[in-house]
Amino acid sequence: MKIPSQPWQHNAFKFGITFLIVISSIWSASGLEITLERILDAPRQIGILVGAMFPLDLSDEALDRIIPKVWESLFIAWAGTVIGAFFSFPISFLAANNTSNGVISRFTKQVLNAVRAFPELILAFVFLPITGLGPLTGTLAVGVHSIGTLGKLSSEVIEGIDEGPLEAIKASGGSKLNELTFGVIPQVIPTITSYWLYRFEINLRASAVLGVVGAGGVGAELINQLRFRDFPRAGTVLVTTIILVLTVDTISAAIRKRIIQGKVNKN
């Protein structure tokens, strides 16, 4: 039996991609002076560090320092998400091309893209001299970044709606505002709410990191304990952060599932 061979262009393209991957990794590894031995030795090194963290420092003094910082990260993430949700909701109607006109939509989308391009940490140290060291700076950074991401996601949801209900409202004499409140918002609110929760999960990780530049949250505690080589305490910071993130992820994922799928009938 004769099996047809693959067309050569296909093979050439595959070969080109493989070549690109190999060459770029060699270029990167040699530029960074990274050898295979160093990479293979890394798991052992991190193992030593993690080993030094146990047993965790669970003394009252350590917990009194760490737990409030962990809560602070949670508050930063939540307040940042609220800022993001509050401002992105009206903006997304301007950005969606079916609820606003072409020029405004394109302009708003570009603004959202520009906002989204800056990482939270960069925003945080721009706000730092204005709002000072502390959680407020972190909240603003997380909030502004969330306006960008939530605005984009929400406007895409609005663009994907079913136009039928809008026509029905128009046909029964509804105004443009009626179309928005009774036609668009009921259709998009479940998806957008679940995006808010999803963003909250991401913001929690971001706010945990923000402490590195002094913008509040648990990150400052981790970097300080690691610098002072107090590994058991650093381990406590790490473990409490992991517990918080896992708990929030689980609860938030369950709520999102409930919002999107609706009530599940038991029978």
């Binding site: 960074l32 990479i39 890394a42 939540w78 945990a208 690691l226 992820d249």
Partner: protein
């Protein structure tokens, strides 16, 4: 008048959840110390930032930051390639479709979840302690970062593959590993490529901030200038980064369209 059906009562989740969310928001704003009056006073300090921010020192940035920017790109390339290729076998172990042993499935799945829980900069901090300051720590941190994302995305893709080809391979006498290699892998390879390009973009963005904790790349230069409030030097660096990031994203979008 027709008999309209009654509107059902809102669910318990809505009745309890919405007031709870509002109360928690108020409490959070209270906790972070938001005060409109202070905020307005502090806003008068904005010239410390905005004046230098809009007077960028281009020549300084290009002279001092280009080498570090190249380092950033190298970190992202190496880490995303290594991370994704380490994740490739792990994802097959972390999927029900290809791993029938529920203990090892659970073990791999929880390992990937645990790695994903720790933020990228936390990994970077830990690796700077473990292997020393420098780009190597950054590479390792981003390996963990890309490993976790690829592991999650790919193992969920493997969950939903068509089991037919694997059964066919087994019927012709191939071992479990051979069946995976010849029948499951080709099914998810296009997804793998798409996820790889996506993760590469994420890594480029993440590698910019690694330097803030001493893990190499352009963040190191931003950090030193930030301490001295030299926003006139930071703003051109940030613009350079944005240009590079957007350029690479466009390239990756082009490549994705070409491959898929």
């Amino acid at each position: 008048m027709i008999d309209l059906p009654k509107k059902p009562l809102p669910s318990v989740l809505t009745i309890v959840g919405i007031p709870f969310a509002i109360l928690f928001s108020i409490y959070s704003f209270f906790q972070i110390g938001f005060n409109l009056e202070d905020f307005r006073t502090n806003l008068q300090n904005r010239y410390i930032v905005t004046d230098p921010l809009f007077n960028p020192k281009w020549s300084w940035a290009i002279e001092n930051a280009s080498a570090a920017l190249v380092e950033t790109i190298q970190i992202a390339i190496l880490a995303s390639i290594l991370g994704c290729f380490i994740a490739l076998p792990l994802s097959f172990y972390a999927s029900r479709a290809t791993n029938k042993n529920s203990y090892s499935y659970f073990l791999y799945k929880s390992f990937l979840n645990l790695v994903r829980t720790i933020p990228d900069l936390f990994w970077a901090m830990m690796f700077t302690v473990a292997v020393g300051l420098g780009p190597f720590a950054g590479v390792l941190a981003l390996i963990m970062f890309s490993l976790a994302i690829m592991g999650k995305l790919l193992s969920e893709t493997i969950d939903s593959i068509d089991p037919g080809p694997m059964e066919a391979a087994k019927a012709t006498g191939s071992s479990h590993n051979q069946a995976i290699f010849t029948s499951a892998l080709p099914q998810v390879l296009p997804n793998f490529t798409a996820y790889f390009l996506y993760i590469f973009e994420l890594c480029i963005r993440a590698s910019v901030i690694l330097g803030l904790v001493g893990a190499g790349g352009v963040g190191r230069i931003i950090e030193t200038q930030r301490i001295f409030l030299r926003f006139d030097r930071i703003s051109p660096i940030v613009v350079l980064i944005l240009v590079v990031v957007i350029g690479i994203e466009q390239f990756s979008v082009w490549l994705r369209r070409k491959i898929l």
